[in-house]
């Protein structure tokens, strides 16, 4: 159990609870034909969240001192590359189309997971992005952003 994380989390959830309670003040208090309005439920839940967050905050003081436990080494580099790539992927999806964005994301993803075997990576990402697009758009009549129009194809 990480004391720091739990403290931050309890504070974040506390803020969230307060936000919902405050926000529910702006919702009209009664609905037609009923004296129980749409504000009751979120307000009650928000208050409950506040109480629970306080409880968790209190609990963090009772955590046993964290020993010199060997910290697990986290692979932040790979993670950040893939996360940023995924972010670009979803933001560019509608701009450059499904096939290109998926192909690029997979290529970056495969190479980040493990370098080398470029040919395999290219073939698999190409097959996946084209395959999914063809199957979904042509066979199942779904909609995905196609190739960008500025390619002039």
């Amino acid at each position: 159990m990480s004391k720091t994380f739990d403290r931050f989390a309890s504070l974040a959830f506390l803020v969230l609870g307060v936000a919902f309670v405050v926000g529910s003040q702006n919702i009209s208090a009664s609905a037609y034909g009923s004296n129980v309005g749409p504000n009751i439920f979120p307000m009650g839940l928000g208050s409950l969240q506040i109480l629970l967050s306080l409880r968790l905050f209190y609990e963090t003081f009772k955590y046993k001192q964290e020993g010199e436990k060997e910290k697990q080494k986290l692979d932040y580099k790979r993670f950040l590359i893939i996360l940023v790539a995924a972010l670009f992927y979803v933001l560019l999806l509608e701009e450059i189309g499904y096939v290109i964005s998926t192909f690029l994301f997979l290529l970056v993803g495969f190479q980040t997971m493990q370098k080398g075997k470029w040919l395999n990576s290219v073939i698999i990402s190409g097959a996946f992005s084209f395959g999914v697009y063809l199957l979904y758009v042509e066979v199942l009549d779904g909609t995905l952003p196609g190739l960008p129009t500025w390619l002039g194809l």
């Binding site: 159990m1 990480s2 994380f5 989390a9 959830f13 969230l16 919902f20 529910s24 919702i27 009209s28 609905a31 037609y32 034909g33 009923s34 004296n35 129980v36 309005g37 749409p38 009751i40 439920f41 979120p42 839940l45 928000g46 409950l48 969240q49 629970l52 967050s53 409880r55 968790l56 609990e59 986290l74 692979d75 790979r78 993670f79 893939i82 996360l83 995924a86 972010l87 992927y89 979803v90 933001l91 999806l93 499904y98 998926t102 994301f105 997979l106 993803g109 495969f110 980040t112 997971m113 493990q114 698999i124 996946f128 992005s129 979904y136 199942l140 009549d141 779904g142 909609t143 995905l144």
Partner: protein, 507 residues
Amino acid sequence: MGAIDYLLDGFATALQWQNIIFAFVGVLIGTVVGVLPGIGPISGVALLIPVTASLTSGLPPEAAATSAIILLAGVYYGAMYGGSTTSILLNTPGESSSVVTVLDGYPMAKQGRAGVALSIAAIGSFFAGLVSLVGLVFLAEPLSEVALKLSPADEFSLMILGLCALSGLAGKSVTKALMMTVFGLLIATIGLDNVSGVARFTFDMPELYSGLEFLTIAVGVFALGEVFKTILERDINEGEIAKISRILPTKQDLKESAGPILRGSLVGFFKGIVPGSGATLASFLAYLLEKKISKTPEKFGKGAIAGVAAPESANNAASGGAMIPLLTLGIPGTGTTAVLMGALIMYNVQPGPLLFEDHPSIAWGLIASMFIGNVMLLILNMPLVKVFAKLIETPPKYLIPMIVAISVFGVYAVRVSVFDLVLLLLCGLVGYFLAKNDFPMAPLVLGLVLGPMIENNLRRALTTSNGDFSIFIQKPVSLVFLIIAVLWITVPLIMKMRGKKVIVNEE
């Protein structure tokens, strides 16, 4: 009409060619999901919701819902079969419900009996699947009839009980589990209120009017959360895979495992019905039970076949048993059934007592298809187990980025919005960090799914009582539910305070 007639009608639905295919695809993917480490039943089901949504888009609404739920349920119980494969061959459970199988499964594999262990696991799973289905057939009608008599106040309290049951056993800290439950309920209130039509917490953003999509959140916290975990923690096993030689068990093996399979099935089934306990706990209990009543308890841990048969039967029976509260009461008892419920709601099908009356072909079609699916699984898992074992060697290099791509594709196919894709990534991040610090995700999803219904019943009950909250303790049925709910949370707490070890359910 009795249960048997309904069941026969169900078989007529389940035996339509497209439903046979859906069941087959479901159990096949389920087995694969079970075998592949790093992707469990819950993320498997969540990932496949959008895929099934596009596959069934050409069918009429009711048939589409039937086919979709047949496939998704197939993934759920199929994963219970597949989970044992890595436990036995690789000493790493494919998912949490197969954790105990490792204890005796891997030693068996080391003794060269991997094939026997795998086939006993498959036979046990098959038998357990049948036991839980028979229970489902006979309990479904009476339970849903009782459930129909519940007033809004009773239903509200029953759902509170469901939430408390899951939170009480989900993870190490009850406070954290409750926080996640409330968090789920809170984000369920975003969007237009279905009673009054008032916009809540939308900040005039058009994306928020229909509320945060269940699918996006489920795929994010489960599928992407697991992917991030695998990347960050290099959660990649490089152990040696045991060889499979002989597959068919000997007569002696069958004789030794008959009892454990039967007891495991019963334990699992009853554990499954109780909300919140789920397959993991069931397999633990079944294993402990076998060890306790065995004449040779010292053999356990060294390759006793009973130590494979009992937990594997139990986890499969539990997954069948968990369908009972979902279908009859509309209360999912585990994370995976909560995701299944979300899928049904996406098809405008409300699980619960009315399901059997309004949509008998969905309810009974699903039950009948589970019989068929279990037969398929037995066939898939006995002769083809060597093929599935090869899957373990799938390089994570390709698997991990592809899961991200499938998540993005699925969410975009259903929602067609970049907003949801960003939300998806955000949920993955939040899901990973919260889950890593023992904030369980299953209560969040359950809260999200049950939120609108809890609120409806709360407001209907309060309207009849003119805003008087005491209605929930004046109605006897509701009072009983609430008392059980309180006990469910407090009893494990008291046990923990007394220093007893409480087994928690992790999914």
